[in-house]
């Protein structure tokens, strides 16, 4: 068993870290203050294929393996969790199902512009009355003889404000009243699709999360991804991968907290010496580092299984669960190390503290992850 990154992965980490520190870090404070999505970062990383991480070269992607894709998400999130989220959702839950389940027409028309970063993707499952219970979704798709007509409202759509391609989960109700879940690719400019204002979020600011409403939105059959009734199985397999991406994001946040805390602890002088010489601070740093590293290995293990085409549902749930908890814990300890200064916006730890929390909520709450893991254990 080789747990060491290979030469390529080492260089990818270094390259992305340099990109994020040089081009993204200067934007983060303003993004957090105003909620602005950084277009300049988008065009910079689009040219470097961050929007087509695992998509093969012939469709315009970078063709990375799953672990390398995690490293990219991790390193972007270490500097800006909001932009790590953008990359993770676009690649993990929008491009991935298109690549696996899409037909030639869909690959050519949707994947190519998405991999080039010209069109950002979303994954629209959550509704006002369907969160953890995705099967309760109320969005409907009716076949009118030549097209599907979609109606419903999706909420908390990550990347929503800047998206070009949206994957909409809908229910097709048969005459007997049975609902079969089906997935549609709906372009943002399609008539009948309307976006709400970006949500005022506690963290992840800069990622325009909004609602998407469908009002008699007419969608041709070539925009149906997979068959009628295949939506739930596509959603489940997509979320298994998506959770690895969110796990990688959480690892990046934890690492960002750790790095910021080490820097601060070395600089801060109290009682005539650096607080990094205090055992209490050292203990906190050690806990942060150990949990971050453990979470990282779980994330890479899940990614490696996925890369090999092996079952990874349980491992991705474990990775996402522990990485999210590591991120929240690292932010909490990191802020404690920063003391009063950490409670101000002068240091990034306060932003990490707000950003980290949602990792325990989206892409399946921690409670849902425990449910997924225990079901696998008890089946």
């Amino acid at each position: 068993m080789n747990l060491e990154p290979n030469m390529k992965q080492v260089v990818i980490r270094r390259t992305v870290r340099s990109d994020a520190e040089n081009f993204l870090a200067p934007l983060t404070a303003e993004m957090d203050r105003t909620g602005r999505f950084p277009k300049e970062w988008r065009s910079f990383v689009a040219a470097k294929q961050y929007f087509g991480l695992e998509i093969p070269k012939d469709l315009g992607g970078a063709g990375l393996d799953a672990v390398s894709a995690c490293i990219v998400i991790e390193e972007v999130s270490r500097v800006s969790p909001a932009m790590g989220l953008c990359i993770s959702v676009h690649n993990g839950v929008a491009l991935y199902p298109l690549h696996i389940y899409g037909d030639d027409y869909q690959k050519e028309n949707f994947i190519r512009p998405m991999a080039a970063g010209d069109s950002i993707g979303t994954f629209c499952l959550t509704e006002p009355n369907a969160g953890s219970d995705a099967s309760a979704l109320e969005t409907t798709a009716l076949w009118d003889g030549s097209n599907y007509v979609l109606n419903g409202t999706k909420i908390f759509v990550t990347n929503g404000g800047v998206s070009g391609v949206n994957l909409i989960f809908s229910g097709i109700v048969s005459e007997s009243g049975k609902k079969s879940f089906t997935l549609f690719i709906v372009e943002s400019e399609r008539k009948g699709l309307e976006k709400g204002r970006p949500e005022e979020l506690m963290g992840m600011r800069g990622n325009p999360v909004c609602s998407i409403s469908l009002n008699d939105c007419i969608v041709p059959s070539e925009n149906r991804l997979g068959g009628e009734g295949q939506g739930m199985s596509i959603a489940i397999s997509t979320l298994h991968g998506g959770r690895i991406g969110i796990g990688a994001q959480a690892v990046g946040i934890a690492q960002g907290c750790l790095d910021a805390s080490i820097l601060y602890a070395k600089q801060r002088i109290q009682f005539g010496r650096s607080i990094s010489e205090q055992g209490a601070i050292q203990g906190m740093l050690a806990d942060m580092a150990a949990k971050t590293e453990a979470a990282r290995l779980l994330v890479y293990r899940a990614a490696s299984l996925r890369e090999k085409g092996l079952d990874h549902g349980k491992q991705s749930a474990m990775a996402k669960l522990l990485a999210s908890e590591a991120a929240v814990e690292a932010a909490r300890l990191g802020l404690q190390i920063h003391g009063g200064y950490g409670y101000t916006k002068a240091y990034p730890i306060e932003r990490f503290y707000r950003d980290a929390k949602v990792c325990e909520i989206y892409e399946g709450t921690s409670e849902v992850q425990r449910m997924v893991i225990s079901r696998a254990l008890l089946k």
Binding site: M7, K8, V10, V11, I12, A47, K48, A62, G63
Partner: protein, 270 residues
């Protein structure tokens, strides 16, 4: 046109610490990178290639893990990489290093018209290797350049920075340039280029025998010098402290910059 570039993988010196108690360099957790001025040389070579065409060969001497540096160079657009690796090369000073590099360059077919090296490395900072390679090959050299443009098929115009001036030198091929790290914009390879460079792309490996070298020409045995002692010196940051009102400070700083030829009269009025 065939362009060759010599690069070296070095520890990222910004991350290296000195253990002052043990008087040793702490390299733990320190990554190896392509020496910055070598990377700049690579960027200039790629810019030249995009204008005049041709192929770019990157050469490095070092342990097997130096392959990483060659593959990074492939990601930046180089066509092939040659790794000069052999236990016998270990411990080489700049003369022995230059000798091995020169032998390798002599073996290239077709012979390169232009050879690039970095001006100096961040880990030993001698600046010897480029000039020594040019001497051994018996070709022209222009050292410390910032930029180079093709004037015709066989002549180039290189910009070289002096203490207080920039000179442009016209030179014919074959020629060796050493490039300063302050040169033009460095190439930032995309993820797809990295993926391809690390999964395909040919790296050729040449050892002592392949190069037709004997034991006394390489490594410690082939070296003319040895480092006798290495000790850390305290870091002294020189600087002038200027005090006064904002307007006076701006004027004082501008005068200082002018005296260093870093701004001119026109820029001053801007």
């Amino acid at each position: 046109m065939h362009i060759a570039i010599c690069i070296k993988q070095v520890p990222d010196i910004a991350a290296v610490r000195i253990d002052r108690e043990r008087m040793t360099v702490v390299r733990e957790g320190v990554q190896n990178i392509i020496n910055p001025s070598d990377y700049q040389a690579l960027s200039l070579a790629m810019a030249l290639k995009s204008k005049i065409g041709g192929t770019v060969t990157v050469i490095t001497m070092g342990p097997p893990q130096s392959e990483e540096a060659l593959r990074e160079a492939l990601a930046a657009g180089a066509d092939r990489g040659i790794l000069l690796t052999d236990h016998a090369f270990a411990g080489a000073d700049t003369l022995a290093t230059s000798h091995v590099l020169s032998k390798a360059i002599s073996r290239l077919d077709p012979a390169p018209s232009i050879i690039f090296c970095g001006n100096n490395t961040i880990d030993s900072d001698t600046g010897h290797v480029g000039p020594q390679v040019a001497e051994e090959l018996g070709i022209a050299q222009v050292c410390g350049i910032l930029d180079v443009q093709a004037e015709s098929e066989q002549t180039l115009l290189a910009k070289r920075m002096g203490e207080r001036y920039i000179e442009t030198i016209r030179v014919g091929c074959p020629v060796l340039f050493t490039v300063r790290k302050e040169g033009g914009t460095a190439i930032l390879p995309g993820l797809g280029s990295l993926q391809r460079a690390f999964s395909a792309g040919s790296i050729i490996s040449w050892d002592k025998e392949e190069l037709g070298l004997s034991d006394d020409e390489t490594g410690l045995a082939g070296s003319a010098t040895r480092v006798w002692r290495l000790r850390a010196t305290p870091l002294k940051i020189k600087g002038d402290i200027i005090t006064g009102q904002a307007q006076e400070l701006v004027q004082a700083i501008l005068r200082k910059l002018e005296s260093m030829s870093l701004v001119d009269e026109d820029q001053r009025h801007e």
